[in-house]
Symmetry: C2
Subunit: 304 residues, 2 copies
Amino acid sequence: MDAVEIVEVAPRDGFQPIGPWIPTATKIDFLRRLAATGLRRIEIGSFVSPTAIPQLRDGAALVEAAAAIPGLRPQVLVPTAKRASEALAAGARFLVYVLSASESHNRSNVRRSVAESVEDYARMLDALPADAELRLNLATAFDCPFEGRMPVGPVLDLIRRLAALRPDIEICPCDTTGRATPDHVAALVAAARACCPEVTAWAYHAHDTYGLGLATTFAAYQAGVRVFDAAAGGLGGCPFAPGATGNVATEDVAWMFGRMGIATGVDVTALLPVAADAAALPGASSGGRARVALLSATERCAAG
Amino acid sequence: MDAVEIVEVAPRDGFQPIGPWIPTATKIDFLRRLAATGLRRIEIGSFVSPTAIPQLRDGAALVEAAAAIPGLRPQVLVPTAKRASEALAAGARFLVYVLSASESHNRSNVRRSVAESVEDYARMLDALPADAELRLNLATAFDCPFEGRMPVGPVLDLIRRLAALRPDIEICPCDTTGRATPDHVAALVAAARACCPEVTAWAYHAHDTYGLGLATTFAAYQAGVRVFDAAAGGLGGCPFAPGATGNVATEDVAWMFGRMGIATGVDVTALLPVAADAAALPGASSGGRARVALLSATERCAAG
C-alpha cells in the first residue's frame, strides 16, 4: 500500500468560521503542536478580505512564524492573483489558489465568473516566482450550495482547461458541502486522472457534514489520490448553523489509514490532545469520532 | 443500481446500553414511528438475560405489540437455542441468532466456546418451526475488543461451517467494535460470497465508533451486500464510556444511498424527528451527521 500525505487545514478551513478571535500567539502554538505530531504540510491561513473573514486577518504574521517551525511546509489559501501577490510579499512560498467549479459559488466567494477566475489564475501563474510552490483547489467540484449536484462532465472540462495552463502542480477537487458520495468522488478522480495524465499530483478535500468524510476519502484513495486535507478535531462548519460539522477530522483520517497499514507520518496518539484543544476553542464546532473513541474506554466494552 | 434494505436496530442495539428504563409503551411508540418512515425490518429487542441487559427484559411484550404494526417484519436477537425457544414461545417468527467469531468475546457474551455455540446453533436449527425466519449474526467478525484484529481466514472457515448447517438464510458479519476498515470489509465479504455461493443473502452491521460506519457500509455494498443494519440517531455506545459512539445512523445510511440513487424505501425527512427523539432519550449516546446537517441550514452557508 502506498503512503499518503495529510494536509492539516484546521488553522485555515477550521478556524475560518470561528467567531471569537483566536489570538495569533494561540494559532502559532497550534501550528507548532500540530507540526510536532508529524504533520508536515499545514494550511496555516488565508490571504482574503479581512472584512469577509476577520478570523484570518493575521496571515502575514503566521507566514513569518511558520517559517521558523522546523520541517514544516506551510501553505496559504489565496482566491485571487492580487491576494497571491500579498501572500508572496509576506514571504509565503506555497500558495493554494482556490476557485469554484460552480458559477454561483464562485460569484458568492470572489464576485467573478468562473471564466474570469480562470483568467485571473493565468495572470497569477505569469507572475509566480520560480521558487514558489502551487496547489489548485477546485471548490464545489461535486456539489454547490446554490446549484446542487455538479455533473462530472463540465467539472472535467474545467479541470482540463486549468491543467493546460500549468500541469506540474497538485489539483484538489473539494467536496465543499460534504454532499459528495464515494461513487461520485471515485468517478471524477478516475476521469480527471485519465484525461490529464500530465498533472503531477491529485489531492482530495473532504467535509464530514453528512458523515461521508472517510467514505469519500477512501474512495479517492482507491481512485489514486495520495494527498488528503483534514482538520484536527473535525473543526469547520458554519458560525451561523450551530452543530453543523466541518472538515473530516485529521485523527479519523490518520487512524483509518494507519489501521489499513498505510503510512501517514502522523502520530495519532500525540495528535489527540491537540485535536481536543482545537475542539474546545470558544465558538468552535468540532467533529470526528476517533478522538472520542480513543480517549474513552470504548474498545473495552463494545458488546454487540 | 440495486435497491438495499435497511434493518433498523435502534430498539435492540441502540436501546441496549441505555441505563434509565425506557417504558415499554415508549418503545412501542418508537416501533410505530420507525415503521411509518418506511422501515420494514426492525430488530425490536432481544431474548437475553434480564440481569445482564435489564433494558431489554420486555421482549415478549414487544413481540406482541410489533405483530399489530402493519407491514412490519420484526426480528429479535437470541444468543442461545434456549432463548430462541423463549422467543418462539412468545410469538416471534424472525430470529437473529448471534455468536462471536472470537473465542474470548463469545465466552464473555454467552460463556461458551465458539464450537459450543456452533453446536447450540445446530440444535436450534433442528427445533426451528417451518414458518420461522432466521438470520445469523457473526459478532467480532473483523475485530474483537479482547483479541484485536480478526484474520479473514479463520472467520471464513467459521462462516463455511455455519453455512453448511443451513445455507438458505441471511448471514451478517458484524463490525462489533467499529474498527473494521473498508478494505477489510470488502475482503471478507468478497471471500465469503465466493466460498459460500449457496448462502441466500448477506448483510452487514456497522458501528461508527471511529467514523468508518458509512465507509464500511459502502464497501460492503460494493462487495455485493444489499442488507444493512443501522440505528436511528446513531444510538449505541456503552453506558460505561460516555461519548462512545454506536451503530451507524439510519438517517446517514439512508441519505447516502438515496443520494447515490439507490432505493432504501426510507423517508429520511420523516425519519429525522424520530431519530432526534431517540437521540434525546435520557442516558442515550447518539451519533450520525445527516440529522444535524439536514435539521440546520448547513447547506446554505458552506463556504470553503
